[in-house]
């Protein structure tokens, strides 16, 4: 049976909420057949969450030089070759996914999304372009799930 897991990565700080806002919108849409979680810097603890998952959808904030609110989807071939050492507080999402790949622990399908943000600052609310992008991405994800999930 296909098992879908959606993980929003972020923090309560301003635009860094991008991943959380996306999964909040999906949660509000009532996607009952999928597991939805909000995570804050999971580090290597991300790997056990992948066990038994057939499709992983992961959304995080990113700063890639684009406009705030730009949405990017990363294929595995886009993951850069790993060339840095890990630190215990610096095991990022990509580090954890690369480690999972070496351990044959990656789900068969991974949709990795980044939402371009401005400055991550201590603010309760995200900026308008990021809020809008989170809503748009949630809509796209929901639409893609409707096609693949038997319950939709």
């Amino acid at each position: 049976m296909s098992r879908v897991r959606i993980l929003g990565i972020g923090s309560p700080a301003g635009d860094d909420q991008a991943g959380w806002l996306t999964v909040d919108a999906l949660h509000a849409a009532g996607l009952e057949a999928v597991e939805i979680d909000k995570l804050d810097r999971p580090g290597a603890s991300l790997i056990p969450l992948l066990a038994g998952v057939s499709r992983l959808i992961l959304i995080d904030a990113m700063r890639g030089g684009g406009q705030a609110g730009d949405i990017r989807r990363f294929d595995q071939q886009d993951w850069p070759a790993y060339d840095q050492g890990l630190s215990s507080h610096g095991i990022g999402v990509l580090d954890a996914l690369l480690l999972a790949r070496e351990l044959d622990a990656l789900p068969p399908r991974i949709d990795l999304y980044g939402i371009e943000i401005g400055t991550a600052c201590l603010s309760e609310t995200a900026t308008a372009p990021v809020r809008q992008a989170a809503g748009q991405l949630a809509g796209e994800i929901a639409a893609s799930l409707a096609l693949t999930l038997p319950s939709h």
Partner: protein, 433 residues
Amino acid sequence: MTEQKRSVAIHVPVLARVEGEGALDLRIDDGDITQLRLRIFEPPRYFEKFLEGRHYSDIPDFVARICGICPVAYQVTAAQALEKLYGVELSPWARAMRRVFYCGEWIQSHSLHIHLLAAPDFFGCNSAIELAKIAPQEVRRGLRIQALGNELMDLFGARSVHPVGVRIGGFHGAPAPARVQAIREQLAAALPEAEALVRWAAGIAVPQDDQAFTSVALRHPDEYAIEHGAIGASDGLLIDAEAFDAHFAEHHEAHSTALFSHYHGQPYLVGPLARLNLNHGSLPEKVQTLLAESGIALPSRNLFHSLVARAIEILLALHEALRLLDDYRVPASPWVPVTPRAGVAIGCTEAPRGLLWHRYEMDAEGRVLNARIVPPTSQNQARIEEDLRLSLRSFGLDQSDDALRLHCEQVIRNYDPCISCATHFLRMHVKRG
């Protein structure tokens, strides 16, 4: 003919695979070390200042934020200090569960350090990702053990990072027996995995090193000291936490935002190897048997044995958690009431990285007047510099720059330094005319 001794300057701008931001400067002139500085430049975090004015009930959640890897150590040390000041006797249930909670942190932190931070060094790998290519089973096993440690922390803290379960007087809540039973089964299943981990760790070829140093750790007559005990040293010292300042002194060095610590004027070691050196006789029999099989003679004077010491402590923590969760029952109340009073509260426990000492001066309403926290990494900082000097000489100063750099990093990582925890800042008094 006079041999020309070489002069080199090695600068490691950012130390990888350690917690926080630090760097190393090494200068060798005419074949001798003329400068060696472990520079900790992570900005100071002012936690002690932030604590001033806070109510005692806020302290456990507040100090948990000091470290994402060892929050339990900070919570339990603060709680122990305040419970002592307020004359609180924990229930036997809360006392036992504090130890189980702490075991979860040791399991999680040690497994993370062994597999993701330290072990790659000994296999010629730059990262855990490279290590996973040549030792996938071992890395998988390490991640499973780490996840189990996280689960134990989550059991009592509602989450494994910055948990919120501890309150002064006990815990906010008691886990349900069904969940405890499920975790007990996982703990039992993890025992053979941890035994295999100890054998694997003991089999890793490490550099031979022999250094004289003083080990400092908590000691307890009945058990391997984790969450309580008296402060002991390998020279025979045995004191209450209250007497810390009579024997240990912190001082500031310009090149570091972390304070340096000395014991009777000398560097000293805290952490897994110091604990094992002092307390190996208190390990459960099964763990002692495995330790004997490893062939490591204790007390060890080789800091590279820190990795196997962590593996031994993972096995110990699994045994302890299983023992203490046997026959688990939900108590009538997970906490006892507390009445604040004015005075000085001092607590001391064994964080995964070593001795952690807290001192709070409290007012009669239960608010913090001032706080002082001495974390393990700042205590080890002088020892790390001393170790580097000795270890580099024994390694050979004529080695290539890359080999020297790697050796230095390897030495530093033995201590699993948590630089974020250690940063303080010089107190400054401004006089204005």
